[in-house]
């Protein structure tokens, strides 16, 4: 009986020993951020927007936060804010900006990784545009 327990412990330890525990990933695609004069607009979110990035942890883009366009990637324009912290999280945590196309949030730009993380279902945002406002 004791031998059986030892064998089971050994097998269990052996089987999980190789696990990296990095079991949840954020889907990322390498992209090139073009930060020239592609956009100079800003907007303020009119309502909260709840989003669930690919890592699975829900985030809320807060009503009243101002977002400034800082460039574009192939998937849309990239907006950053100083009004709230935005990270996307899986086993690791990544600071993120939002990517918008046709007034829909389509994904996130990760500025340190230089990657794009798509949303499974794009979300329409209710926004008040502040065109040509000084940043």
């Amino acid at each position: 009986m004791n031998k059986l327990i030892v064998i089971l412990i050994f097998l269990f330890t052996f089987s999980v020993g190789g696990c990296a525990f990095d079991v949840i990933h954020v889907k990322q695609i390498p992209v090139n951020l073009e930060s020239g004069n592609y956009c100079d607009n800003s907007f303020v979110l009119s309502t909260n927007a709840d989003v669930t990035p690919s890592g699975g942890y829900k985030r809320t883009l807060k009503q009243g936060t101002r977002w400034d366009c800082i460039g574009r990637v192939a998937q849309g324009n990239v907006y950053a804010t100083k009004d709230q912290i935005l990270t996307i999280e899986a086993s690791n945590v990544f600071e993120a900006y939002i990517v918008i196309s046709s007034k829909k949030l389509v994904g996130f730009y990760l500025p340190v990784e230089h990657t794009y993380s798509p949303l499974e279902n794009p979300i329409p945002l209710v926004m008040d545009e502040l065109k040509q406002q000084p940043k």
């Binding site: 990296a20 525990f21 912290i85 086993s91 945590v93 340190v112 990784e113």
Partner: protein, 143 residues
Amino acid sequence: MKIALNAFAAIFVAFFLAGCATGPKFSEISSSIDEPAADKGRINIYRTAVLGAAVQPEVKLNGEVVGKAVPNGFFYVDRGPGDYKITTSTEVDRHLSLTLDKDQTRYVRLNISMGFFVGHVYPELVENTVGKQEIQQCSYTGR
């Protein structure tokens, strides 16, 4: 029986608190901490969680050891604008990636979560309003 119980309780409390930071608190020394140089920003790194007090991994900034995840402890690093990765290692590596601008102050809280053999310490970027409040009672553990 009662003596044994008291002794056990005392040992438990001592063991529980042994790993906590004991230096001056942020609220006591914040006014004497120099501002970062004009071309730099500051990252305040702190841990409020006492759970898993024995688990105190090193904290690395872009691969360089800058401190330890001591319960109720804080330290800070001043760096130029750029991209940074803050990493903690227990039985696994956990990292936070963040940007830093000059004159910017950021707060990173070191949280603890369940692990297989030991707890996992992971860094989280928090709002400045939250970080400023939570760091007040943490003790300085910097070098």
